[in-house]
Amino acid sequence: MTSTAERASPQTQKSRDSLATRVGLAVLRVGVAVLWIENAGWKTPPDFSSLRRYTSEAVEHPVVPPFTWVVEQIVLPNFTFFAWVTLLVEASLGAFLLIGLATRLWALLGIGQSLAITMSVMNAPNEWEWSFYLMILAHVAVFATAAGRCFGLDEVMRPIWRASDSRLSRLLLRLS
């Protein structure tokens, strides 16, 4: 049984804070993962019609002219290929962030994909620009805190990778 003195000790308080921090970071990571998982749900092959409409917003309501040029000249003429890449990247972002595997790598990719979305639709009617900034910031937080080390597979696997001499293990240590 824990005594009153122990409950109030700084060490106990620190441990409680640490648990709260770890739970909070896990919730953040899983929440960001579910964001991508849900958004993989409306990108439907073979025609990806909803995604095509969204992608066209980059041309109709430009945010960054060079990005608009890329969308108009490269992405839209080869739309099916880029739509599949988008679906696979976003589904993978959701999958890996959910289990917290190679989390820092996927957080960086999430920042990149969030930037692409921002440059596509931020100026479209009825869009709130801070929703895009918040997406980017959430991934920055996941990256900065290495959130996969809190109740994620990175936490379980890092001691195994650390004990291994392989290049893949060393790489995964850096990406987690």
Binding site: A33, V34, W36, I37, E38, A40, G41, W42, K43, T44, P45, P46, L87, E90, A91, S92, G94, A95, F96, L98, I99, L101, L153, V156, M157, I160, S164
Partner: protein, 118 residues
Amino acid sequence: MTRQPIDRAAMALGVAGVVSLGFSLTTSSNNNFVLVEGLGLLVFPVLGAVAVVGGAIGQRGVVLAAGAAYVAAALIQLAQFGRSPNWLDGNGSTFALLLSLGIGLLVVGFAPRPAPGG
């Protein structure tokens, strides 16, 4: 008996598979997080239960079997959604969740374990 972290991770992933049934309770077509319907109502919990058992008894073969089955289901879902037939009645979100559980279970299943007594 003290379970190894990778066994506990396999059990946690299995539990996630079982509780993902909860996504079938959502009613909105817009904000349903993950589409779990049709045969998916069977695949998610059954494979999840297999993973829980594999983790509980520390049998990596059972964990790997559940992981491989989740990945196979993910690939079938990827090939079929937006088309007919769609055996799992899912979409891209279903694919992503199946992929997540499959990769996770394969990673913990293939993870090296310390030798007994080591």
